[in-house]
C-alpha cells in the first residue's frame, strides 16, 4: 500500500462508491453480518494483513483472510449463543473517509476504491481504536456493486492484539 495514489481517476463520480463503502460500514456497526457478507461477490475475499505492505495472503499469516466459506463460518459463530468472546457483544463505530477512486477498469466494470477507516470498539469496560487504510476492489452489479476484495491495512497490523471478534 506504499503505492497509494494521492489523486483519483479523473472524471469519475466518487459519490456512488463512497455511498457503498459507508453503507458497508453501517452494516458492520449494526451487526448485520449476513447482509454485510451479501455485499461480497461469490469469489469475494476479506483480507486484513498482519504486516505492512504484505504482498499476498497465501504464504504469510494474516489477521483475516476469509473467502465466502470462511466468512460464513465466522458469521455462524458470531450468531452462536455461546460465543464467549462476544458475551457481551462488541459495540463498534466505523468512520470512513478520504474516499478516492484509485483505478477504474470500465471494460470489466471493476474499480479500486481507497479510503481511510477508523473503528472504535467498546466491550467489557475497554475501548479500543483501530485505524487504517482500506482498499475495496468493487465489481459493478446492476445498479450497485459487489466486493471482489476488501483489504484493510491497519496502521498497527503487526502489533500484539487482544481478541478481535468482529471484522474491521
Amino acid at each position: 500500500m506504499t503505492d497509494v495514489p494521492v489523486g483519483g481517476v479523473a472524471g469519475i463520480d466518487r459519490r456512488p462508491f463512497e455511498d457503498f463503502i459507508v453503507h458497508e460500514a453501517r452494516l458492520l456497526d449494526a451487526r448485520r453480518f449476513r447482509d454485510w457478507m451479501a455485499l461480497f461477490a461469490d469469489d469475494g475475499t476479506y483480507w486484513v494483513p498482519a504486516v505492512p505492505d504484505q504482498a499476498n495472503p497465501f504464504d504469510q499469516a494474516s489477521l483475516f483472510y476469509d473467502d465466502r466459506d470462511l466468512m460464513k463460518t465466522r458469521i455462524d459463530r458470531l450468531e452462536h449463543p455461546r460465543i464467549h468472546v462476544q458475551t457481551p457483544p462488541s459495540r463498534t463505530a466505523h468512520l470512513v473517509g478520504n474516499v478516492v477512486v484509485e483505478a477504474a477498469d470500465e471494460a470489466n466494470r471493476e474499480y479500486v476504491v481507497g479510503s481511510t477507516v477508523i473503528m472504535v470498539e467498546y466491550r467489557e469496560d475497554k475501548q479500543r481504536l483501530f485505524a487504517g487504510r482500506q482498499r475495496h476492489r468493487l465489481r459493478r452489479d446492476g445498479a450497485g456493486f459487489r466486493i471482489v476484495q476488501k483489504r484493510v491495512d491497519l496502521i498497527n497490523c503487526d502489533a500484539a492484539f487482544e481478541a478481535m471478534a468482529v471484522p474491521i
Binding site: A50, L63, F64, E162, A163
Partner: protein, 433 residues
Amino acid sequence: MLDRTRDEISRLVEPGRVHRRVYTDPDIFELEMERIFGRAWLFVGHTSQVAKPGDYVTVDLGRKPVIMTRHHDGSVRVLLNRCTHRGAKVANERCGHASRLVCLYHGWTFDTDGTLIGVPVPEGASESFRKEEFGLARAPRVGEYRGFVFASLAANGSSFEDHIGPMKRNIDDLVDRAPDGELAFDAGMHRYAYDGNWKLQIENVLDSYHVPFGHASTVNKDGVQFARREGDQKGAKVVEADKKSTAASWKDRKSYTVGNGHGWTSNTSLDEGKRSSPAFDEYKRVLAEKVGAARAEAILTPRLHNSLIYPNMSIMGLNIHVRVIRPIAVDRTEVNIFPVRLVGAPAAMNSANIRLLNVTHSAASFVQTDDLEAFARSQKGLRSTATDWVDISRGLGAEEPDRELNATRELATHEMVVRAQYKAWAGYMREAV
C-alpha cells in the same frame, strides 16, 4: 513480601490444587522471572529465521531482550541484547540483516558473535579498558535440535539433553511431516496478548477438557467442529448429537507427561483415509516419493495433538504451528504463533496450512479468541478470595505408566498434565539461582 523460602513455595502447590497467588501475586511473578525464566531451557527461535550469515531476530527470554544471530562462520549465536557500555538495546528491529551490530547511542560496534570490534574515539578510553572484556554477553548455554534453538540464561542446571531429550520425538513428529525433513519459519507470525498470567496459556495448550464448552461456538448443530485441515470434509466430533455430552472420541483421548513440566495429548482421528484435496493429495504423493509409501503413511497418521515443551513453547499438531509464550507481567502475557512451512511440500499445501491457521489462531480467529476470553476472565475471577485454591484434581490418582513411551498417561480430559507443570514449577521455584 514473599519470603522466598522452600516452605513457602511448597505451600502454594498441593497434590490436586494450587494457590491463587501463583497467578496473581507480583512477587511470585518476579521470582518466576528469576528462578524459571532466568534458568530453564527456553525456546529462542528456529535456525531458518537466521538462514544467512548476518541475519538476526530479537526476542525476549522472560523479560530479557536477546538477539539470535547467524555468525559468519555459520553458527547460530544467542546474545544478550544490551550494550556493554551504557546499557542500550543494540538491535531494535524484530528481525533484520547486518554484518555488524551497532549501538545507536555511542556507536559501539559488535560482530555477530558479540565480539566488540569498534569503539569510537578510542583515545578517550581509560587505561584499564580492555575491548575483549566488553563483548555482548552470550547466553551461557545454547542447544539446538532439528532447527529448534533453546537457551538457558544460567551457567548451570539440567543439561539440554536431560531437559529437551524426552521431547525430541514430539519435535520429530512435526518436522518429519516436511518432505525434505526440515521446517521454515518464514510465513510471518500471529501475535496476541491478554490480561492474564502466562500459565493460563501454558495450561490451556494441553487442556482437552475445555474444548466442548469453551469452543462451543465453533461446533455445528451435529456436534461437529468446522473443518480445520486441508482435505477434511468436516472437523472433529466434539459433542454428541444430543449436545448434552462430550463426544466419546474426545473423551478417549490421552495425555502424557515425561517430567520437566513437559506433556502432550494424543490425537483424535478426523477424516483419516478419506482426507483428500488436490493440495493434500499432491503433498502425500511428494512425501511418499521422498520417504517411501509406508513411512509417509506413518508420518501422516496423527499421533500427537499438542505438545508442551515447558516452560515457554508448544508444538500444535492439528493446525500446525509453534507457539511461544512470553510473560510480561503477573497479569499480562503475549503469545507468538509461528506458522511452519513444510520444506519440500507443494506451495498449495503450505498455503492451505497458513490460511487455516488464520482462522484458528490469529488474534481474529474462531478458536483462539474464546480461549483469550477464558484467560482474561480467569484472571478477573482469581482476584476473589472466596477460596484461595484453584482445583486441578481431575484424574488425581488415575495416572498410569506407559512403558512403551516411557511416560505417564492419563485421560486428556483430566488434569494430570497441569499437575506435572506445577511439579516442575515448584522444582524451579524452591531453589535459588
